[in-house]
Symmetry: C2
Subunit: 212 residues, 2 copies
């Protein structure tokens, strides 16, 4: 018997997770989705190792057939599923400054099954507006909104000085994971996940790679 429950999120590594949209994009672009595709072909198209592709696909779906390859349609379904297309997670942003608004506008989250549903700010000129179609509420509405919508994901894009305070509010509102753009190590209960984004790191690392 196949287990076709409403789906479960698996724990993909960050590296694997980053490759999944590439698989999806290529497979979606195929005009004929009837046949099969081999890891070899997919690897060549995406400039990846074919063993790596085979391992990835084994984790994502596990429906390959020797000498044949992977049936495209079920593979695409498995990929959509892995990306959470059928159970969109909602996320909120606290701080509608440059970074917050850039993220509000960014349309890449849906590829990973995440929908940014609202932002919060203290600026009365921003409150009540809908940049990129997303509402901005006052920060005093965070708890009400998040508990009502059962929000589990939040982004902190406020100045350093208010980050910990915002963090505490989010935790008390039931948020389970926080993507932190403020340059401070947030203190949270140990069951809450925090990823501190260091926006300068990527450029700094690139810089270190071009040492003549």
């Amino acid at each position: 018997m196949e287990d076709i429950k409403p789906t479960e999120k698996k724990n993909f590594s960050r590296a694997l997770l980053s490759r999944i949209p590439h698989y999806r994009k290529y497979l979606s672009s195929l005009s004929d989705k009837e046949g099969y595709i081999s890891a070899t072909v997919l690897a060549n198209k995406l400039s990846l190792g074919e063993v790596q592709v085979r391992k990835d696909l084994a984790v994502i779906s596990g429906e390959g057939r020797p000498r044949i390859g992977y049936e495209i349609k079920p593979l695409l379904l498995s990929i959509e599923n892995a990306l959470g297309k059928d159970r969109i997670s909602e996320a909120v942003i606290v701080g509608a400054g440059k970074i917050g608004c850039a993220l509000l506008e960014f349309d890449g989250f849906l590829d990973y099954g995440i929908n940014i549903v609202a932002a919060f700010d203290t600026d009365s000129h921003k409150i009540g507006t809908f940049p990129s179609g997303k509402p901005i509420f006052g920060t005093d509405k965070i708890k009400e909104y998040c508990t009502e919508h059962n929000t589990r994901l939040a982004v902190i894009a406020v100045p350093t000085r208010s980050a910990q305070e915002v963090c505490d509010i989010l935790v008390s509102s039931g948020i389970k994971a926080i993507w932190n753009f403020a340059r401070i190590d947030l203190k949270v209960p140990k069951d809450i996940k925090v990823y501190r984004e260091d926006l300068a790191l990527s450029l700094a690392h690139l810089n270190s790679l071009i040492n003549d």
Copy 2:
């Protein structure tokens, strides 16, 4: 004889590189910088493993003394040096939209010895303005500016459709490394480094970690 040349950039791993500013921040915060500090103390203060700290410091400076620790002043100098404080690298941003402007405004690059010196855009309303004190030029000025200033680092924050075109211009302008926010795999000569930023990945990964 000590070798005190104008300094060289070492090839720190991305992980190590991300820890260096934390060491710097803590050491800078000390009111008394006369004495010594041990890896044990530093590790506790920063919630890191003490062996990891010891290894990091060995790579960064290598001036520790058993039973004593690391002399704070030279250690700080080594750290500043590792972060490139004495040879600031200049970088430009192409695309002054939400993300481009957020990066223009962001003040964290200097911590890594990088200075964002200018942005380029096609919007005539933006050209000639100085958001965050940084000039915005027309994209037709990219080559002139970068060759004149010997710019080696660039950020691409333009829409996907124009990213490859911008990339080609940057490469022909002598840029050696590109931080790419556009959602496309750029084609570049093999001596040019490209890091494709996937803004949604961190949040997607966090989401995958909170699977109940």
